[in-house]
Structures are given as C-alpha cells and as structure tokens.
C-alpha cells in the first residue's frame, strides 16, 4: 500500500470499508475479555423474552473498536489516531453483517491533521454507530 500523503488528501476521500459478522464465539470471547456478564450478549431466552430483542445483542464498544480498526487500516504506517469518538445509537444482533467505514471531512495540511466521519452500518443501511476521528499523518 502506498503511504498516505497529507498534501494529496482531499475532503470526500472514502476509507476502505471493513465488514464484520460476529458469531456467538466471538461475542463470548469479547465479553469474557472485558468481564462483562450482561445477559443480553449470551443468554438468548433472556435477550428475547425478558428484554424483547430479536437476538443476542452485539456489544456497543465492539462496534467502536471496529471504527478504530477501519481508521488504522487506512492509515497503515502513515499516521496515527489522535482522537476517536462514537455513539451507539442502535442495536445490532448476532447473524448480521456490519460494515465499518468513513470519509475524510477536513484536511489541515499545515498541522498534518485530517478529520474523518465514521460509521458502522447494518445491512438495511442504517448507521447504528456514527463516529468521528482526528488523525495525524506523518508525511
């Protein structure tokens, strides 16, 4: 991959999207790594009958992590995350394929920084986790 250059970067540039389709095993590993015992992530009868969800709920911060991965995959060795923010606005469930992506919003060549808008989108096209990032480019 060719290194990103701030001088060549323009608002509107799209980051390559990444897809994720977590299964029960990945979600189990994720919540075990956190020590998160919330039943909506592994107890299907509880999630559907007690809470009324259509399935096991994918953990919110996992989707925030995917936004960070999408930005870093695009940056490669050419830059670093300065700030990342996201908001979990909608739920996603095991079995769904989710897409993380983003767009360059502003470029400050003097400071070597760019701001990005980010999203995790479900198959219906709804943005369930919008986000933003500020990155610093080395070159």
């Amino acid at each position: 991959m060719s290194a990103l250059r701030i001088a060549a970067l323009r608002p509107g540039h799209e980051l390559p999207a990444q897809t994720h389709k977590p299964d029960n095993v990945q979600l189990f590993f994720y919540n075990a790594a956190l020590w998160n015992a919330h039943r909506i992530h592994y107890d299907l009868p509880y999630a559907t009958e007690a809470e009324g969800y259509p399935g096991l709920v994918i953990a919110g911060p996992l989707m925030g992590d995917w936004l960070g991965q999408c930005v870093e995959a695009w940056l490669g060795d050419g830059g670093a995350l300065v700030n990342l923010e996201y908001s979990n606005r909608g739920a996603a469930y095991i079995g769904e394929t989710l897409t993380a992506g983003g767009t360059v919003e502003t470029v400050d060549a003097a400071k070597g920084e760019a701001s990005l808008t980010l999203f995790v989108r479900n198959e219906a096209g709804d943005v369930i986790t919008p986000g933003r990032a500020l990155v610093r480019l080395h070159g």
Binding site: Q18, A33, H38, L62, D65, A80
Partner: protein, 150 residues
C-alpha cells in the same frame, strides 16, 4: 421543573479510587482475537489496539455484585430518577500507545450530570472521564463516556 435535584448534582466531581493494572501480552492477544483485529502487531500482542483500555479498565466484579441481568453496579454513580439507558458513547484522546509490561493507573471521575427535554419526556445525561496514566504521571489515554437515561 427538572428531574435532577441539587443532591444528585452534588455528585459531580466524585472520583473512584485509582486502579492500577498490568498490561500482559496474553490479555492483548485475547482482546485482539475477540475484536477480529487484522493487524499482526495486535494479534501477536506486541502493542494494544486503540480500544484495549476499555477491557483493561472494565470493572472486575464478584458474582454476587451482579444484578439479575448480569450487569455490575457502578459505585461512582448516584441512583438516578430515570433508569432506562439509551445511547452511550465514548470520546477517546490518545497520548501514547500501550504495550505489554506497561503498568497503568486509571482514574474515573463523574464530571457532569445534566438534563434535557426529549421528545417523549426528560433525559438525563452524565459524563465520566477516565484518565489513564503511567505511574510517573505521563498521560496515555483520556476517555470521556457520555450516557443518556430516559
């Protein structure tokens, strides 16, 4: 006519006792696999992915401290008059990277409680800031969590 009493607002500024955690390659690897990382440096545990601190500073609670739905009660928070959680979000500023062997200090502070009128009634917002530093005090991560209750 708000839902937030002066007693509730008085909790702003409250801090939890600092927590010290040791970063291990094993824990980074587990986190990297669980989050479907694609970069070798993360899967091998040479460096921690950007949201690894979320796992590192998640509260380790004992079984009898969990509510029936499996959630741990955050002792930093007062009992709010609204309890249904809506959107939550994080804002993370990076000062330094995290690597195996790092010893990190995490300090959580309840920095704000406020309310807004939503379409279907009042909403309570609260903010918790987590400062992650090295033992010499140098900053690693500043994270602000915002949660909305209705």
């Amino acid at each position: 006519m708000g839902v937030l009493t002066p007693e509730l607002k008085a909790n702003i500024g409250k801090a939890a006792p600092p927590r010290i955690e040791v970063v291990t390659r094993r824990d980074i690897r587990k986190y990297a696999i669980a989050t479907n990382q694609r970069q070798r440096k993360y899967l091998d545990g040479d460096e921690a992915p950007p949201l690894y601190h979320v796992a590192l500073f998640w509260d380790v609670v004992e079984l009898d401290e969990l509510t029936p739905d499996g959630v741990s009660i955050d002792a930093l928070l007062p009992k709010f008059p609204l309890e249904k959680a809506m959107a939550g979000g994080l804002n993370i500023t990076y000062h330094d990277r995290i690597r195996p062997g790092d010893v990190l200090v995490g300090e959580r502070t309840l920095t704000d409680i406020y309310e807004k009128e939503g379409r279907s009634g009042p909403l309570i917002f609260y903010e918790v800031v987590l400062e992650v530093r090295r033992q010499d005090g140098s900053p690693v991560i500043t994270e602000k969590t915002t949660r909305i209750l209705r």
